[in-house]
Structures are given as structure tokens and as C-alpha cells.
């Protein structure tokens, strides 16, 4: 199956509509934005989570400034397609968030609204989850160029999930 159906048609609409308007005016017109659509959902077997390694994937723009990680390029009108990895054991008060497309009030008051590491640890301790993958995969979910998501972001995520030998993924969008 295709990760992104009708890719070429989407790209043509995106270039002729939203992108051309932004390049001409410097303004975002989301009515011109072609939201990606798939007809076929990925198929695959279920698993026993209590015997599995789960990786958390977050779009909240979380990063670890204390470890020298650079923030995501939140002001970039065309998005940021890179990832950051940080340990699942990270103290939540060490995280910073660079996104710019959601109100950060809740996540700054309680990071578990988007990065539920302590809850996941509890679920692992209770035996609901076999174990957590050692690193969280983090990116900034403002990514209007969907072809770049497919060509740049998803391969980086798959490399990180493979390296951690994760069996399952929990995606928490912001």
C-alpha cells in the first residue's frame, strides 16, 4: 500500500494553490490547502502489549535544550521535518517545546498532556506495557509539505523505531 495516496495530484494542487498564494502574498490561506486523504488504512496484526516494546512518537515539538539539542524551526512557514530523540526517562521539567502552532499553556503546566512519559512508566510497571523503548521520537507537527513528510520525516522515524527494536508505536499529535 502507499503511505500517501494520490501524491502527485496532491503536490500539483499544493503548488498551484496554497504554496503559490503564499509565495505571491506572504499570506497563508488555509482554504487553498489540500488536506491529504487516504482511502486505505494500513493493515496489520494486533499484539500483546504486555510482551511488547512501545515507542512514544510525539508531534509536540519537544526537545532537550540541556543536552545541546537545538529547537525545531518553529517560525519556518514551510515547517521542519527533522526529529529529535531523547531518553524516555527524561525528567519532564527538562523538556522544552518549539512548535508555535498550538497554545503551549497546557503542556508547559503539565507536559504529560502531550508527552506522557510518567504515565507510560506506570503502565509498564503495572505490566500493561512490556517495556518502553529507550528513546522518545519527537518532531514538530507543523509540516504543510506532505511529500517532505513521506520523503524525510517518515524514513527518519522508521530508522529510529528499527534501531530501538520497537514492536509498537503510540503517536500523540499536538
Amino acid at each position: 500500500m502507499e503511505i500517501f495516496e494520490d501524491r502527485d495530484q496532491w503536490l500539483a494542487k499544493f503548488r498551484e494553490g496554497w504554496l503559490a498564494h503564499w509565495q505571491e502574498t506572504g499570506q497563508f490561506d488555509w482554504k487553498r490547502y489540500p488536506h491529504p486523504k487516504n482511502r486505505e488504512a494500513p493493515a496489520g496484526p494486533g499484539l500483546d502489549l504486555s510482551r511488547s516494546r512501545l515507542v512514544l512518537i510525539s508531534t509536540a515539538g519537544a526537545y532537550l535544550p540541556g543536552d545541546g539539542q537545538l529547537p525545531f524551526d518553529a517560525p519556518n512557514p514551510l515547517g521542519d521535518y527533522t526529529i529529535r530523540l531523547f531518553p524516555a526517562a527524561t525528567a519532564l521539567d527538562r523538556l522544552a517545546f518549539a512548535h508555535g502552532h498550538y497554545d503551549p499553556t497546557a503542556v508547559e503546566a503539565d507536559p504529560q498532556v502531550l508527552v506522557p512519559l510518567r504515565h507510560l512508566e506506570s503502565l509498564a510497571a503495572e505490566g500493561v506495557i512490556g517495556e518502553l523503548a529507550p528513546s522518545v521520537i519527537s518532531f514538530m507537527g507543523y509540516q504543510p509539505v506532505v511529500t517532505r513528510v513521506v520523503d524525510e520525516l517518515i524514513p527518519a522515524i522508521l530508522e529510529a523505531t528499527d534501531a530501538q527494536q520497537a514492536d509498537a508505536a503510540l503517536l500523540v499529535p499536538a
Binding site: 496489520g44 504529560q112 503517536l171
Partner: protein, 71 residues
């Protein structure tokens, strides 16, 4: 590319449905607080557990709507 078993939760059922995710829960929670209200650990756990529970089932699944509100 080979994938792994994936589940997600979203406050934006309309847009998320368009992408045809393999497993998903949908809520009426707020953008920027996907798992629940700040400080409401019980709500966050409910959303998390319901979303993780979907991993036991073969995909694709019909999305599951959770009665979780932002206020």
C-alpha cells in the same frame, strides 16, 4: 518501508479520519492537550489506556470515540 503496530489519539477526528489511520481514538479534548486537561492525571490515563488497548486488535479498526471533554 515496513511499519510497526501503531495507535494514536486525536482531538481532531475530521482531519485525522481523512488520513485513514490503522487504529485511533477520538476525543473532544483541546488542541495542545491531546491526552487530557493539565493536571487531570485520571483523564490522561483513561485516554492513554483506551488508545493503547487498540493495539491488541488487528488493523485497520474503526476509530473509537471517547467521551472526554476539555472542560
Amino acid at each position: 518501508m515496513n511499519g510497526i503496530a501503531t495507535t494514536l489519539t486525536s482531538w481532531n477526528a475530521g482531519r485525522t479520519r481523512l488520513t485513514a489511520p490503522p487504529r485511533a481514538t477520538f476525543t473532544n479534548l483541546a488542541r495542545g492537550a491531546t491526552l487530557g486537561q493539565a493536571g487531570n492525571s485520571a483523564q490522561q490515563r483513561r485516554v492513554l489506556e483506551a488508545t493503547l488497548a487498540l493495539l491488541a486488535q488487528d488493523a485497520p479498526l474503526e476509530p473509537v470515540y471517547l467521551d472526554e471533554q476539555s472542560q
